[in-house]
Each structure stands twice: as structure tokens, then as C-alpha cells.
Amino acid sequence: MAAAPGRGGIHRDGRAAYLFLAPALLFFCVFLVLPFLFAVVLAFSDWGGFDLGTIEFAGVSNFADVLRFDGSFVRPILVNTLLFAVGSVTLATFGSVLVAYCIDRLSFQGFWRVLYFLPVVATVVAIGNVWKMMYQPAGLINGVLNKLGVNSIGFLSDSSYALPAVTVVHAWASIGGAVLILTAGLKAIPEMYYEAAEVDGANSWRMFWQITLPLLRPSLLFVLITQFIGGLQSFALIIVMTTDGGPVNSTNVAAFEMYQQAFKFGAWGTASAMAMVLFVIILAITLLQLWIARRRGEETS
């Protein structure tokens, strides 16, 4: 499979290979390994300034502060993070299964998929601002509600509506990517299963539940887990739509709180501990995903 070594053999190949890999490896050392180690050190230290000489070891006190149950991080921020991720992944997965299944039965499939893909291509600033505009009392959504005889809702100003409101936007923006991956999964289901079911007189509802859904499970699982991880760590939409995670912290999520602690208050230690807590949660989910994939014999080659 690999190139047969010519004269000079492995030695010559090896030197060229290391030279070709050098830019990438050097980069990963400076921008991944070093920052990762630095992040671990910061999480266990007490430091407020910019002079590395004043950094002090603080043991697990940052973690103790962050994970205290009566502190402000676990509730509402960690809870918000989970609600945001679970809410958007549920909406996006449900929506994308429905849409991918329906598109698969229509003509001009490429055209439909491009429409659903538009939000994936747009910047978060465009998405966030347009929806912010649509959520205003004088915006499109309240306009429609008023026509239907419903009073205007302060989607982003009422603390009980704000988190669901941004969750919907995040789900809306991620449906297109999920539709694509599910479409690839749908295309991989052999046509003959449906033909056999048709001969047996099954209707399309039964075919969906007994053929499509079970055979779609690997793609579905991939979409669920990657979207959930994406939801746990995203906060750009929250900055754009709410500026400060308000009203009264109702839309504040862990990654955003980390950002604020670090760059607004200069609390590197606390912020890094928050990042670590979130990272461990995401790592656990990633390992779960790898474990499920391996059990199914779908390991990367």
C-alpha cells in the first residue's frame, strides 16, 4: 500500500516526512499543547495580572469555588448551559430528521438542501442581529402574533423567554448541517428494504418507524452527540443577541461566563477552572461517542 522506498530507503523518506510535518507539529506545540498545559496550570492557580512572576499555586480552591452549589456558577449558569444544549439539540435533531426524510422524497433535492444550509454559511453576527430584530416588539414575529390576536412577547427582555428564544435560534442555525449528514445516512439505506416492505403492504409511516429510523441510527447518533457538544461550548450567539447573558443571567452559559471572568474581570484562575469543568463534561461525552462507535465496529481506519 505504501510507496516502496527507493535508493536511500526509509532514511530519505523519514527526513522528508519530518520536514513536511514540521510546520504542523511546531504549530500544534505552540498553539495546542502549550496552551492546554497552560490552561491546566491556570486552573490550579491564583493570578490576576499579566506578569507571570506573580502567579501563585492555589490547589483546588478555584474548582471548589466554581462547583459550590450555592455559588453562581452551577445555578443558573451550568444549568442554562445544559438547557441550551439539550433544547437546541432536541429541536435541531427532530427538525432535521423530519426535513431530511421529506426532502429525500421530493424532486430538486439539491435546491432544498441549499436553502436549509443558508444559516450554516452566514456569520453569527448576521444571524444574531436578524433574530434580535425579529424578536423586537415591532419585529416580524410579534407582528405575526399580533395579527393572530396575541399580545407582543418580550422574547429577549423577559427572563423567562430569553433562554428559549436564543435556543431556538441556535437550533435553527444548525439544522442545515444535520440535514446533510442525515441525508447521507438515508441514501445509504438499500432501496430493496422499502420495496420488500411495500410488497408486504406497509404504509410510509410504518416504513419510517421500522426501516428508516433503525437504519439511520449511526448518523442520528453522530448528529445528536456532535450537536450536543457544539451546544455546550457555543456562546457567540449569546454575546451577539444579549450582550451580557441577560436579562439577569438568564441566558448566561458556562463558556460565556468563562469569557467574562477572564477578559472582563481578569480572574484567570476562576475562568480556567470553569473552562476545565466544561471540558471534562465534553470529554466524557466525546469518549462515550467513541465507545459507542467502537462497539458498533465503526472505528476510523
Partner: protein
């Protein structure tokens, strides 16, 4: 040629069209609002269509948002990142796919693992590293004493994105399938590895390079958090998304929202054009990343 089960799938059409309206409506609202004149925006009851299609907001966007400066920064950063990701991914991908050397498996696994580190975790330390970069922005050899290190130049927006683990993975997967005979023939003709890569491998990678280039281009053009952070003390480094967002947060929304929308239309158009022209390749990249 797709399966047709029982007559006209009216239910499927209904779902897909309703969903498509929900997908497109916000963008339509964005474009329509960008034409609304003074006193037309923020009025109850809501109206989608503007009274006339004047270009005042676009003119104002160019003046108040300094769109030319933002555009230039966006182009410099996006082109630099895309070109360097393509080069570094192609070099590393070739080594991992076609060259035999000690540690190949370990390095490949390491590169796969880099994709698992979430960006938010690296945000704080990377910022501090850029700030204390030795011999930059007045820093001494130990990275001290200066004012801002690398964070005061566009380099700060480019350097942390010049290599992509996903890009290396994508290139490697593609190059594995290139026939070995072709590479051997080059070597028999006396080409060294560099020449083989440059003259034989690189021209063959066009399809995957377009995919990777597009994903990188769109991702970089739309990048927000890191640029927001770096440009918070150096406004001259703002790119389109950051510049537009910061302006809208300073001013009275009812007056400026249509101007912001005009800016957003302008900032969305390049990426939309690139996507529509090459969407086949972009779609393939997303599916490939889903099947890894």
C-alpha cells in the same frame, strides 16, 4: 430516480416548504430592512416591505462602519489563513499518507486528538501567549516589557489558525487513494520528495483542496470570538462581523438597525457567492467530516 412510494408526497412538500420559509424569512427580513428609510423601522404594526428601495443605508454603512477598512482586514485574514491551511495540510497529509517513517501512527493519532480540544479551552492561554510573545510588540526575549506583544497586529488573527487538524486529516484521507505507481514513476525519473509533492501530488489534490479551501474560507470569514477579543484593545484590527456588531451596540437601534442590516448584507454576500458557486464541494466536506 429516488423512491416514489404512493402518489404525490404532499405532506413532504408541506413540511419542506414551511421549513424553507422559516430558513429564508430572516434573510429576507434582513434584506428588506436594509432598504427601510428613517421612521420606517421599529414601527407597529410590522411591515416586511420598505416603502421604497433607497440605497441610503448602504451609503451610510460605508461611511459610519468604515466598511472598506473592515473589508480589507477580512480579506487579508481570510486569504492568509486559507492559503496557509491548504499548504500545511497538503504537506502534512502527504507525509502521513505516502511516506514511511518512524512514529507515523503516533503522529497521526496525535493530529486526530488535536481535533478534540474545544476552542474555548484554549482561548485564555492562547491570548496570554500572544500577549507575551517573545520579541514582538516591544517584548524582550522572555516576552516581557512590551505593550501587547503580537496582539496589536493582524498576525494575531492569522497565526492561531494557520494549521488545521481537520485539514490534515481530510488531505491524508484523500491522498491515501492516490496510486503509488505515479509517485514511484516520479522518483525513478529522479524527482526528490519535494518535487514529487509539488509537481505530482499537489495538482492531483484539486478536488479536496477546493473542499478544504471553502470550509476554511467560510469559517475564517465568519470567525467572531477570537477577533472580538484581540480587537477589543486594537479597533484597527476589526473584521466585518466584529466591526458591525460593535457599531450596533453603541447606537440607538431604531435609527441604526437598517444601517447595520445593510452592512450585514454586504458582509454576507461574498461568502454566499463563494458558497453558491462551490456548494457541491462544501456539502461534500460537511458530509466527509460527518463520516470520519
Amino acid at each position: 430516480m429516488r423512491r416514489r412510494r404512493g402518489g404525490f408526497p404532499w405532506f413532504a412538500y408541506l413540511v419542506v416548504i414551511l421549513g424553507a420559509v422559516a430558513m429564508v424569512m430572516p434573510f429576507l427580513d434582513m434584506v428588506m430592512s436594509s432598504f427601510k428609510g428613517a421612521g420606517e423601522y421599529g414601527v407597529i404594526p410590522y411591515r416586511l416591505l420598505p416603502e421604497s428601495f433607497g440605497l441610503d443605508n448602504y451609503r451610510a454603512a460605508f461611511e459610519q462602519l468604515e466598511l472598506v477598512r473592515l473589508f480589507r482586514n477580512s480579506v487579508i485574514v481570510t486569504v492568509s489563513v486559507t492559503v496557509s491551511v491548504l499548504i500545511t495540510s497538503s504537506l502534512a497529509g502527504y507525509a502521513l499518507a505516502k511516506l514511511r517513517f518512524r512514529g507515523r501512527a503516533v503522529i497521526f493519532r496525535f493530529i486526530l486528538a488535536t481535533m478534540m480540544l474545544p476552542p474555548f479551552l484554549l482561548l485564555i492561554p492562547t491570548f496570554l501567549i500572544m500577549l507575551n510573545w517573545p520579541l514582538a510588540g516591544g517584548n524582550d526575549l522572555l516576552g516581557r516589557g512590551g505593550d501587547g506583544g503580537l496582539t496589536t497586529s493582524l498576525v494575531a488573527l492569522i497565526l492561531p489558525f494557520t494549521v488545521s487538524g481537520f485539514g490534515i486529516f481530510l488531505m491524508r484521507q484523500f491522498m491515501v487513494s492516490l496510486p503509488d505507481e505515479m509517485l514511484e514513476a516520479a522518483r525513478i525519473d529522479g524527482a526528490n520528495q519535494w518535487q514529487t509533492w509539488r509537481l505530482i501530488v499537489l495538482p492531483q489534490t484539486k478536488p479536496v483542496a477546493i473542499t478544504l479551501g471553502l470550509i476554511t474560507f467560510i469559517g475564517t470569514w465568519n470567525e467572531y470570538i477570537w477577533t472580538l477579543l484581540i480587537s477589543s484593545s486594537s479597533p484597527e484590527l476589526q473584521t466585518l462581523p466584529v466591526g458591525i456588531q460593535l457599531l450596533q451596540s453603541f447606537l440607538d437601534p431604531d435609527r441604526t438597525m437598517p444601517i447595520v442590516m445593510a452592512g450585514l448584507v454586504i458582509s454576507t454576500l461574498p461568502v454566499l457567492a463563494v458558497f453558491l458557486a462551490f456548494q457541491k464541494y462544501y456539502v461534500r466536506g460537511v458530509v466527509l467530516s460527518g463520516l470520519k
